[in-house]
């Protein structure tokens, strides 16, 4: 599903440049649930942003579902993101003046899905994350965990090929974190490919594979036996 080869990325800061990714190679199969780990500043978000076409690499190859991702202009990148990718952020990033349902419907709106179908579909996904009753509520009326579940429903509504989550539990307490992980696991169970950036070992253990970043390279990449989050909720 994802294939990257010798990926480099550095940030220019005045006269010096900060080499963040120093040749990353890895690939992800369909249906995998991968944790990207590493200490703060190790380049996890940078990697995820490049995978999410929110940022460009300096060099290297990136192939997503057989499509080489290279030299995209902003319009093309937006269309690819919309079609291929779902995003979940640490701070949820819901649009605060839109109801939960409208938030979930947003990617479908940009896919030009008709209004009726869009709202039906969004409601279905809200139901899947257990928030059907909260459809008309504004984000400010939801708890952190609920917000993140809306965000996950939003990411899934467009039926992306890959779900990218940057510290999805970073702003949540551990109980809520496990609830969110439980949801992510269930989505993965349905065959969805998911990449999670985290620095919390217990969250990483709930994935099926852990990729460890340090100083811009992968120092460890191992398959693990998944810890089910269900037992903690």
């Amino acid at each position: 599903m994802i294939e990257i080869k010798d990926l480099h990325k550095s940030y220019k800061m005045g006269s010096n440049s900060l080499h963040v990714l120093k040749g990353i190679n890895f690939s992800v199969e369909e249906g995998e649930l991968v944790a990207i780990m590493g200490s703060s500043g190790s380049g996890k978000s940078t990697l995820l942003n490049i995978l999410g076409m929110l940022d460009n690499s300096d060099s290297g190859e990136y192939i997503l579902d057989g499509v080489p991702i290279k030299n995209l202009n902003e319009t093309k990148a937006a269309q690819y993101r919309n079609k291929f990718l779902g995003f979940v952020f640490q701070s949820f990033n819901l649009i605060n003046y839109k109801s939960a349902l409208e938030n979930v419907a947003l990617p479908l709106y940009y896919q030009k899905v008709g209004r009726k179908e869009r709202l039906e579909k969004s409601l279905k996904y809200l139901d899947q994350v257990g928030l059907k009753e909260w459809a008309e509520h504004l984000p400010s009326e939801l708890s952190g965990g609920q917000k993140q579940r809306v965000a996950i429903a939003r990411a899934m509504a467009a039926e992306p090929k890959v779900l990218l989550a940057d510290e999805p539990t970073g702003a949540l307490d551990s109980k809520t974190s496990y609830e969110v992980m439980d949801l992510i696991q269930k989505i993965n169970d349905q065959g969805n490919t998911i990449l999670i950036v985290t620095h919390e070992p217990d969250i990483a253990d709930m994935c099926k594979r852990i990729v460890h970043l340090k100083d811009g390279v992968i120092i460890e990449d191992k398959k693990i036996k998944q810890v089910r989050a269900e037992q903690y909720v």
């Binding site: 819901l94 605060n96 990617p107």
Partner: protein, 418 residues
């Protein structure tokens, strides 16, 4: 077509509606600008309407011709000779100069601008007394408060009737007293009053206190023979008064042996000049109003653009999220521009409604019967359309500034966690 895309509009309304108070403040500039624009336009239109109303009934393309003394010797005549028009001149002019539409000969009792005493029951009034043809009414319409003006029958039968001014009435009659059918005495001759008129305060050639009697009656009663004092003449609509004026003078100079270079022997007054000056004035006024109004509007729209710029900055994160979710730059741009248009148009309509309300109130206060040159203050449909097209055009152009700023926001920068 995106114009009819309900979702797009609800997107726009949602983002405008989330900060109602600020949206309103943003609109205030355009509302006020629109009020100013419409008031300026309405005011200048009202002034132009007012002048039109005041001069209604007065032929704008008319002139007056009278005789004076010569200022040049000619063909053996000394300078300083008094010229006296004859009634036949009217016929000659009308026949020979085809541009003349209406020609009303007139004769005045006493010297020019002179006053004669009009008697009634021991009361007197010092009035100007004119012998007139009824067609003078086609050139300078008299506003009658009571009765009628002189007519062809009066002329044909040389009836001893007269039309008097309100001023004359006040001097000769008690308040509320009926004057129609009563007699007044002028130079020992009795005249029966058939009408009372109200002089036009703004364009008054005959004076305040005047009495009109039929020309033919005048001739008989006062023995004026074939003498004629002066002429009121209106020319064909598409003819320039000055051209006809010089033709008339040339003909009369020729007839009365006046030196062609003599500028004084025949006096004239070109009323069309007054009208041209007024319409030039109101035209310039309208132009200036429009210009000032549009500039004000521009300032209002720029204020909207400014606020939208601030809004875009505040919405950096939201725009980043939208971009991450698949909003293309074009979609983002369109939304911001449409927000700009929406605010502007909505504000414009509010301002327009307010201004029209004010104009209507002013119209009500001025009323129908006012002599001040303001009447029916309103904007015309073309002015309304031009203003709105300009306003929308400006809001698009100006909206592009925040829209381009929004597009420059990179989703990655917008989404970076602090």
């Amino acid at each position: 077509m995106w114009l009819f895309d309900k979702d797009l509009w609800s997107e726009i309304f949602a983002s405008l509606g989330k900060n109602m108070f600020r949206t309103f403040l943003t609109m205030l500039g355009v509302i006020i600008a629109m009020v100013i624009l419409v008031l300026l336009l309405g005011g200048s239109n009202g002034m132009s309407n007012g002048f039109n109303k005041i001069f209604a009934g007065t032929a704008s393309n008319s002139l007056f011709v009278w005789s004076q003394r010569t200022s040049e010797p000619y063909k053996g005549f000394e300078r300083g000779r008094r010229i006296q028009f004859k009634l036949e001149d009217a016929g000659i002019l009308k026949e020979q100069i085809e541009e003349i539409e209406v020609l009303a000969p007139r004769i005045e009792l006493g010297s020019h601008r002179g006053v004669v005493t009009v008697y009634r029951n021991g009361r007197t009034s010092g009035s100007a007394v004119y012998g007139d043809y009824p067609n003078i009414d086609d050139i300078m319409k008299k506003k009658l408060v009571e009765g009628r003006f002189l007519n062809e029958n009066d002329m044909a039968d040389s009836k001893k009737v007269c039309v008097i001014g309100e001023e004359t009435y006040k001097l000769l009659f008690d308040k509320e007293e009926n004057a129609i059918g009563k007699d007044v005495r002028i130079n020992g001759v009795f005249f029966n009053i058939v009408g009372i008129y109200k002089p036009n305060q703004n364009i008054n050639i005959d004076g305040e206190n005047s009495v009109y009697i039929p020309f033919s009656t005048f001739q008989k009663a006062f023995g004026s023979g074939d003498r004629m004092g002066w002429m009121a003449i209106s020319v064909q609509p598409d003819t320039q008064v000055t051209i006809v004026e010089s033709k008339i003078k040339q003909l009369l100079k020729n007839k009365y042996d006046i030196n062609p270079i003599d500028e004084r022997a025949i006096g004239s007054f070109d009323l069309s000049e007054v009208f041209n000056n007024i319409s030039a004035f109101t035209g310039v006024l309208k132009g200036v109003s429009f210009f000032v109004g549009i500039l004000t509007l521009l300032a209002g729209v720029i204020a909207i653009s400014n606020i939208l710029l601030i809004t875009v900055k505040e919405r950096t994160k939201e725009i980043g999220v939208r971009r991450a979710l698949g909003a293309t730059p074009k979609v983002v741009k369109r939304q911001i521009v449409l927000e700009s248009i929406m605010i502007t148009v909505f504000a414009g309509f509010i301002g327009f409604a307010i201004a029209v309300g004010i104009l209507a109130a002013v119209n009500g206060m001025i009323g129908e019967d006012s002599d001040i040159p303001f009447y029916n203050l309103m904007v015309s449909i073309p002015q309304f359309i031009i203003s709105f097209v300009l306003m929308v055009g400006l809001s698009v152009l100006i909206g592009l500034i925040p829209a381009n700023r929004a597009v420059r926001i990179k989703p990655i920068e917008a989404l970076r966690e602090e």
